[in-house]
Assembly symmetry: C3
């Protein structure tokens, strides 16, 4: 084979790759002494974590190597990191002992000040651009936007609170922290606080660990013991931090799948979702930058909402962003009416003209002062359409967005009809409403009203926005909006007649 | 390595395949001058389309090469194509400038008569057998079967139309074209018409494009500007036309997933669906012909309903068909009662003895004159059972079909019960029905009645037909049929009593 | 290439594996003469079965080779098998002619005593440990636990039985065997009995076959013609018996997906499910033993509930078990209240203090005499936590289980509220209950009560147990529990007022 040594060595490389995939951290970047210390015990205590990390880019590449890459290829956004970090793998100690003085959850552990909860502030050491963008992302405020909005807080109580039956009446109890953490706050994020310490008997003798409230949690708006907000691991799953996971729709689906946020279900039934399900095995989810058409032939959530996209020549189609609303001009879900996006990621400050913490009146008129203007809307829509245009013609894209606008309008109208029935029910005394100072989410007709917008109008708009139209017909969309109106009017009539 | 040059060259081929996958059209079939012209601009305007096409069989194989294959291996069914087409890749110009005089959407574009909407008539140049079969497929009439059936048209209005609340009453409005296109017609197909022209400022100066109503759309019964019906790209996704996509269940699921057509959900929970989900990574979805047991070990939708299947010796188990009902003897979904299949793919001509456009009376007796006879049923059942028998014994298959027959019978009975309650509600004046000339789909009890057959009876039958039995128990099947009857009878009693 | 003959031969092996995957049984273990006889005809009659088997470990490995493996690598648990079986593939004849005298479904077939239904007793020849464990698994009693429990049998009738409408009243009919087989018993298992014989005209002339009731079926608690209970092929799918299939969640999902047992849906929306969906293509589902972190980075159903798990050093983290409840300390689903697990897999023997065949009173107090005690609970919880700890810290795991305990408590409370409303409805005569000797599952409010525990409380607990919290919020969890209470109280009021 002297004739073609290239093939021979090539064969060796390829075969070596097939037979000896690099899975051991020892074959990756050098590990700091501190992290070696951690691994010594934890590799046998929690083999899954250590193995997973061993396959991660953090174990394979040093920050210095990351910084040396070209602008399009870089995943690290810091121009410089601390000299002690630059030439080692990003290991246990690098993250779990960073900024100990900021971390109220820091504790003494075998001579180190260790903290359990790694935060966006920790990650920002190497990823400052992403951390800063994320601060402007509504997700980072997901805790306060729920818990700090009195109306939404009463919705949470009406969902999670225990109802008891006494003297032929239902008593509504408030919710509790454990239930909230296992329900709404799983996604919105908990408020993690140090409650005290506890001693645990381990193989290495008795050890003391902090007791954390709201732990475990990886919610996108988690309040961290260092004061930062969010959890990068919500999408960038520990400890492999595998880019391909963050780029796949299953990650987003952890929180965007239920009837209140049916993005995943809609995607799944769309042509895009079909191609993903059918072809993803042939696509490259690890390529940086991500080349449209070459690396993938249909978008995932990340492609449209977050990723840096380029064409084969390296021309940028869309810049990477961790402020997801950069490409979103209309807010489709989570509120009674769809409307343009809020200006600030902190939505708890919003008040409508009736003084309610809502970006629109109960009858639909938007609280424009708190919302982005037409110009900003146009900018964001264009940003999104750039992505669409990489695979679709102008006529296709315009037709698509016209239908979305129309769905926003018609679903708002159907919500308004439901709202008018509810208001009428309140007026007739069939249900107890704001005039009686009663929670507006706790009676059957009120819950039907919530489903009208939170489930059905929502789903219908998502189905239009993401071209998963079938979902907006019978699955959880127009059929249910239409039926719900009929059931609400029946309820109102019956309960107005009856002597309740 | 002079000892074994075979291995050496083999290694080269395999390694080349691993390292340099053929993704560039330049490495495929020769591209016509006309298509080269298109690509020159569109490769940068819409890189995703061009890249996707570059991986397609259309870019890799010329029609002449396709025709030269053996009968079982061929995907092109024409015996001969135009000489200008025979030896080039099937590129942009080949499809988008075909038969310009037939295409009302043709427009002048840089010296070419281009049309946006490629149709089954265009595809039939190379695929005449498939196009002709598809004309006999009920799917090709999906637009007219919905829009041309007055009863079904009123169902569409009751789902998609806006309901408004005025003077304590609900007003039902008719639906509109945009909403229909984003709902029912996404799957059924829109009626695409040229509405006018518009000028768009492009990098190459101002250009004029036609404005199309109902665009974009890829529905199976789309009415095309050249008068043909259907869209091949509903299943054979542009522009990769990847056979493996059409053979995977995700393609069918775009339209067969909702509660009205739960085929995908049922498949997913079946043993077949389990094997697909667990093992598809090891199967060959591109092999032509498709060898049972070797290329796949459990069927997908395509295996049972469309694909050419052979055994390892090349004996044909089932012929390829694009008339899906060839293997379907009973119609399980979409109508009030399950019954034998209609004779004609155009079902809008059907009338029952009461003059309604339905293949059965409201009380279930089939309008036999419009339906296939026992002999044809037997033929189609055998055709399907041939597929089953390639992996199951006669006793297994017979047992399976007995249960399906039984489910057809019992679900029809449960629908009849629901219908009798509804008729009784009409008679008692609890709801307004045909006697009052009222739409029979717009009140709450009528919507419950629709769910009885369109969702629950349907789902139960699918669960039997495709052995996804769990779906027919609690998911959306028997439990819901039983509960719905109770809720209908309650509704009737309450609304008969109350002074509405 | 004389310099490195190792690489050369390695290349040959790897390339051969790529180009000529071993799919023919001829290349596997030797096939017995008896099985050769079977294959001679059946390879062409049912090519799918024979091909699938050809890829199976049964075709690739002889029992003797299996026995020779190390303890951790073995899949065969017998120390010795019959000499006639030891050195051949486990083929058609080996299983389908085993223990003919025990099999009431044995029939003469070309000189052999063949039986259709292969049973756990047949499999126990080579897999005695697994068969014996499975006998202690509640699943093996799934038939009797349903059919032999008078209360549950009436639930089955209320789901599957036809309701007819006569004289303005609903008549509830009992269910029938065919419907049950296509509904509840698909998973629970049918009772397979020989009903007679039938003659079938075949290519080889007329042949006689037994006619089996309840066939086909692969339910986990199937009553077999040899008296054994269960079906190994429920999870170990015929005829490939591919370990990777049994280890993937899709297998479990065949029966654990509906709203009554939403394990799959909850898993899917969890971080574990996300990682499975995103990364499973890179994991090794065939490795024995299964190494945490190396072979997979997130658990499937099998990892937590059944599989033998080790770390890279080969230390056992969890022993393989086919008695799934070995790692389950609390019973989350299928009953009105969650409580500690029953002692015996046969739950039809249980009676509460009111004499009902339930492990708790209608008002929730557990029938402790029939349930495992605290010590056994603690043992099982530890067993499960060992699995958790391989990837999570003690604090994480403790926090997780605290929330599960809390969800068990709160969901039981919400069920109790629903029960109290129902009892009140019975007392007021709004519904007919036990005092009227009426089935407690057939009226609308009773069905709402069933949904409270069978769907919503259930789903909420699963969501806590498997960290798929989003599912327990709006999908089918707390939102629906809260709404259902309101609808039950409304129903009771209206039906107490009305003159029904």
């Amino acid at each position: 084979m002297g004739k073609c040594p290239f093939i021979e060595s090539l064969a060796f490389i390829v075969l070596a790759g097939i037979l000896f995939p690099v899975t051991l951290s020892g074959e990756g970047a050098p590990i700091s002494e501190d992290s070696e210390m951690c691994i010594e015990c934890h590799a046998s205590l929690h083999p899954g974590i250590v193995e997973d990390w061993g396959k991660s880019p953090h174990a394979q590449t040093t920050p210095a190597q990351g910084i040396a890459k070209t602008a399009l290829e870089r995943l690290i956004s810091a121009e410089k990191v601390a000299p002690t970090m630059a030439d080692n793998a990003v290991g246990c100690a690098e993250c779990h002992t960073m900024n100990p003085s900021q971390h109220k959850d820091s504790f003494e552990h075998n001579g180190y000040q260790v903290h359990t909860v790694v935060t966006p502030a920790d990650c920002s050491q190497c990823h400052p651009v992403e951390a800063s963008q994320y601060e402007g992302n509504m997700m980072s405020h997901a805790y306060g936007n729920l818990q700090g909005n009195s109306l939404y807080r009463s919705l949470v109580d009406s969902v999670n609170g225990i109802q008891t039956f006494q003297d032929a009446k239902i008593i509504h109890n408030l919710s509790d922290a454990d239930t909230d953490a296992d329900s709404c706050l799983y996604c919105h994020g908990t408020n993690i606080q140090v409650k005290g310490n506890r001693k645990i008997e381990t193989d290495a003798g008795e050890m003391t660990f902090p007791v954390l409230s709201g732990w475990p949690n990886q919610g996108v708006g988690r309040i961290n013991p260092d004061g930062s907000m969010g959890s990068c691991s919500a999408c960038h799953t520990r400890h492999g931090f595998d880019l391909s996971v963050a780029r796949k729709p299953d990650t987003c689906s952890e929180c965007h799948k239920g009837p209140d946020v049916p993005a995943y279900g809609v995607y799944n039934v769309s042509k895009h979702g079909n191609l993903y399900s059918s072809q993803a095995g042939k696509w490259d989810f690890s390529a940086v930058p991500w080349i449209v058409g070459k690396d993938f032939t249909a978008p995932t959530c990340a492609s449209c909402h977050a990723s840096l996209l380029v064409n084969k020549e390296g021309d940028v189609i869309s810049q990477r962003t961790h402020r997801m609303n950069d490409r979103l001009y209309v807010r489709l879900f989570g509120l009674i009416y769809a409307h343009s996006h809020p200006r600030s990621p902190d939505t708890s400050v919003i008040r409508n003209s009736a003084g309610l913490p809502l970006p629109a009146e109960l009858t639909g008129e938007p609280a424009t002062g708190y919302l982005i203007d037409d110009l900003e809307q146009e900018k964001r829509r264009s940003e999104m359409q750039n992505v669409c245009l990489s695979c679709h013609s102008r006529g296709w894209v315009d037709g698509h967005f016209e239908r979305l606008e129309h769905s926003v309008k018609t679903t708002n109208e159907m919500t308004l009809t439901a709202t008018k029935i509810l208001i009428s029910a309140w007026e007739k005394g069939a249900a107890k409403g704001p005039a009686q100072n009663d929670v507006i989410f706790n009676e059957a007709i009120e819950k039907k009203w919530v489903e009208q917008w939170l489930f059905y109008a929502n789903s219908t708009r998502f189905a239009s926005a993401m071209a998963g139209a079938d979902y907006g017909a019978f699955a959880n969309g127009r059929w249910h909006m239409a039926k719900n109106i009929q059931e609400m009017i029946d309820w109102m009539k019956i309960h107005s007649n009856s002597d309740r």
